[in-house]
Symmetry: C2
Subunit: 180 residues, 2 copies
């Protein structure tokens, strides 16, 4: 967690994840591809992000998260989602207390996510400072029986006040290549 | 302010700033160079950073800063300092409320900085997520008659609780090349 880790998500013809669908939620979508690789450095499109410290999570919330959040790579978690989002200039002009009030005080982003643990594993990558087209990439992994739960989680997030500041969002659904 | 701007500081034989001195404050220093360029892409050493949104500043503090902070590039501000710092893993493991409590609640970082406005212009660059050797680069510009004030400001910051989490700091003092 401490040192930032740079990850490249390459959409193309190769990779350990089969792409089930790519859907635009807000704004422009990404071109269709057959597979997604987290080890390739080239493809039809490339998204890069870096892990970093939490920007809004407070001590008590961190303790709650650490107690229940699962690791990535669980064998039963054969489905995944990659959701790149970009927030508006208006969001980034807000002060820290204003962003926190929207993020957790009124949108309950952390509390919402906690409800879906440990079913849904999650890792956030930051990319705004890398000059990327998105601000964040969130990677989720879950078992097929939890797919409806996952849809519920993203639906709940998209109805929050925080999401009014999202100006681009793409929803990429994936399935682990069982033969890979 | 809204879109991040990537800046490269290149220490070497060319550049619009003459290097007066490079002093290690905590940890390893940087190699001596004659000049610093903010437009070159190569040199004896290169430090890269990107502007970003404030991570701790609240609305009332932002309003106070915006009201008095001067622009960079004032003709009378012929002296500058570039201060790269890296914070410890212990800092980055803290939750947002813990970092804010140290940063402003007990170290008064924002309040301290405000006291020295508008004499000292300042711009913060983030570099932790870029894979750089430092976490932050802070660039300061001031007139020669405010050099003692600037020394007072950095001295005050270095005596704070926040600074116990700084594990590397270099202090680079510069003078604009009047003939450039």
């Amino acid at each position: 967690m401490s040192a930032p880790i740079l990850t490249t998500f390459a959409g193309g013809e190769s990779g350990e994840w089969l792409v089930d669908r790519i859907e635009p939620v807000i704004g422009t979508t990404l071109p269709p591809v057959a597979r997604l690789s987290t080890s390739a450095s080239s493809g039809a499109w490339i998204l890069r992000g870096v892990t970093s410290h939490h920007r809004y999570v407070e001590r008590s919330e961190k303790a709650a998260l650490v107690a229940v959040q699962p690791a990535l790579g669980r064998p039963e978690a054969t489905l995944a989602a990659l959701i790149p989002i970009r927030k508006s200039a208006a969001w980034w002009e807000l002060a820290q207390d204003e962003r926190r009030a929207i993020f957790e005080g009124r949108s309950h982003h952390i509390t919402l996510g906690l409800k879906y643990l440990p079913a849904i594993a999650r890792r956030l990558y930051h990319c705004r400072e890398l000059g990327e087209p998105f601000d964040f990439l969130t990677w989720f992994e879950y078992a097929p029986e939890n797919e409806a739960l996952f849809d519920e989680l993203v639906g709940a997030l998209r109805s929050t006040e925080e999401w009014r500041y999202v100006e681009r969002e793409v929803d990429i659904r994936l399935r682990r290549d069982a033969g890979a």
